[in-house]
Symmetry: C2
Subunit: 302 residues, 2 copies
């Protein structure tokens, strides 16, 4: 574990051997001080309710950096009015214990009022990759994500921030925002961590009934089928039909099942370009998403 020396501020407290910082300005000062001392700082933004997917991000951050900050903040602005903000799990002490055991130096856990001060009136709005799929189905979601990620990157001016590939569209939105605003941080996207049957880890899996948990594997199955058919040269329409068939057979209410350009999410995939299969569906009241990168296919001969 990296040395976690307590901040001098009163709002920072050592819980389970990790320093919990609630104040954005002090958090920023601590990161800058570490960097001035020659330390490379990695940042793993989370909404808490940590699982092995977050653990993998933290491990990769620790492998690449001297100090790691993880944020735990359930961001209200990325939830729609009918979504699960209020019931989203918040096991903060367990999260801190896990992060401490991994060797995280700081947990940044701001109060909502410190990220959204009284009279807050600023949003970061991304179009382009934020428009289709989740952008259509969850109006305002990516604006909420971009706004809080921008705010977090200013409070935690790390060298690199790590995101999981499971939220593929989110990674494109964050990369776009970072590039467009010139935020001085590197973005690293890490592979999705899965259960033994292939279900992508998600804090929302805890909502699933045992029966729905079993059926949830259909998302991964549909993506495996997409990868197989993509590799066999099938066209996108046929692949998407096969994905839908698998999901319907397992009783998943499909939001989308699509194969699109990996970087732009455009439905036209130029020959020789990588693609991504995206899937989102509902089981009972739980909504799950997943995806699978698809390597470039050889251009047709001639």
């Amino acid at each position: 574990m990296n040395p976690a020396k307590p901040s001098t501020g009163t709002a920072a407290a050592a819980i389970s051997g990790v320093v919990v910082e609630r104040d954005p300005a002090r958090m920023r000062a601590a990161v800058l001080a570490a960097q001035r001392g020659g330390r490379r700082v990695g940042f793993v933004p989370t909404m808490g309710a940590l699982h092995a997917g977050h653990g993998s991000l933290v491990a990769q951050a620790l492998a690449r950096c001297d100090d790691v900050v993880a944020s735990v903040f359930v961001n209200p602005s990325q939830f729609g009015p009918t979504e699960d903000f209020s019931r989203y799990p918040r096991p903060f002490a367990a999260d801190c214990a896990l992060l401490a055991s991994q060797g995280v130096r700081w947990v940044f856990a701001p109060e909502t009022e410190s990220l959204y001060p009284a009279g807050h009136a600023t949003a970061v709005v991304v179009t382009g990759p934020a428009e289709p799929f989740e952008g259509m189905l969850r109006p305002g979601h990516f604006s909420g994500v971009a706004t809080v990620v921008c705010r977090l990157f200013l409070a935690v001016p790390a060298d690199v921030a790590l995101f999981g590939a499971k939220d593929w569209q989110q990674t494109l939105v964050v990369r776009r925002m970072v590039r467009d605003l010139g935020l001085p941080i590197e973005i690293e996207v890490c592979p999705t961590v899965r259960e033994s049957d292939g279900l992508a880890l998600s804090s929302r899996n805890a909502y699933l009934s045992p029966a729905d948990r079993q059926r949830a594997v259909a998302l991964h199955e549909s993506l495996c089928q997409a990868a197989a058919l993509w590799g066999a040269g099938q066209d996108v329409t046929a692949i998407e039909a096969a994905m839908r068939h698998i999901l319907e057979q397992r009783g998943v209410s499909i939001d989308y099942a699509a194969v699109v350009d990996r970087d732009t999410l455009a439905t036209q995939i130029p020959p020789g370009s990588p693609a991504v299969a995206l899937v989102a569906g509902r089981l009972g009241t739980t909504r799950l998403i997943d995806n699978q990168e698809l390597p470039p296919r050889p251009r047709p001969p001639g």
Copy 2:
């Protein structure tokens, strides 16, 4: 004049004794290096076509800081489709000479493509103080301002940025964005510089015909009248009517003439709060704005 040592990058060039930096990443690195050396850096963002108002901002920056950066960038995203982007004056060599003579260390003059890279899809959108007045009359204007100022503040991570009070609503929008996103920069608003007859300096004054130039003093006259009536305890409706009367007599096409809360721009001004008189009007094809702060009035007795 502060020592202006040339950047090592090929895009930086010394023109008239000032270092012109076109690359945002190198600009950022230069400012951070100065700060690491213990120097306080001030930033004056401009669209060029400099006049004594900008000169005053630069002088105040130099008085408060060790090094000063001025940016010269005519930001396309803050102009509406029917506005004066293409004809906006761009006397870049003269601007650089003026800034050099004042002792500015760097002129940041990015290419449009480096602030708005291919596929640009991110906007910073402010509501609240950005909504009335200019926000109603120039849809998208303040989003363009907030987006470019955020981008500029990331390329020029100065300790303090200076803005002129002439664009009062803009100063409120910038302050709101800085606070909401947690941008680590101090905002200083400096008094409007005026011609001898009271006309606020503006790059757009150059568009005025000699006759319109004479009539343009009506904006300042209406504000002086507002201040007098405010001080005499007149109510807002009467003050606004008096302002309109002066503007109409001089043939100014009024966009607005209003007395509102200084900090929120709300029409309800709480007793004992400062106010601001705002005016915008057109003379021929030239649109001018101006304003006057109004000190808190004593609360009514009892």
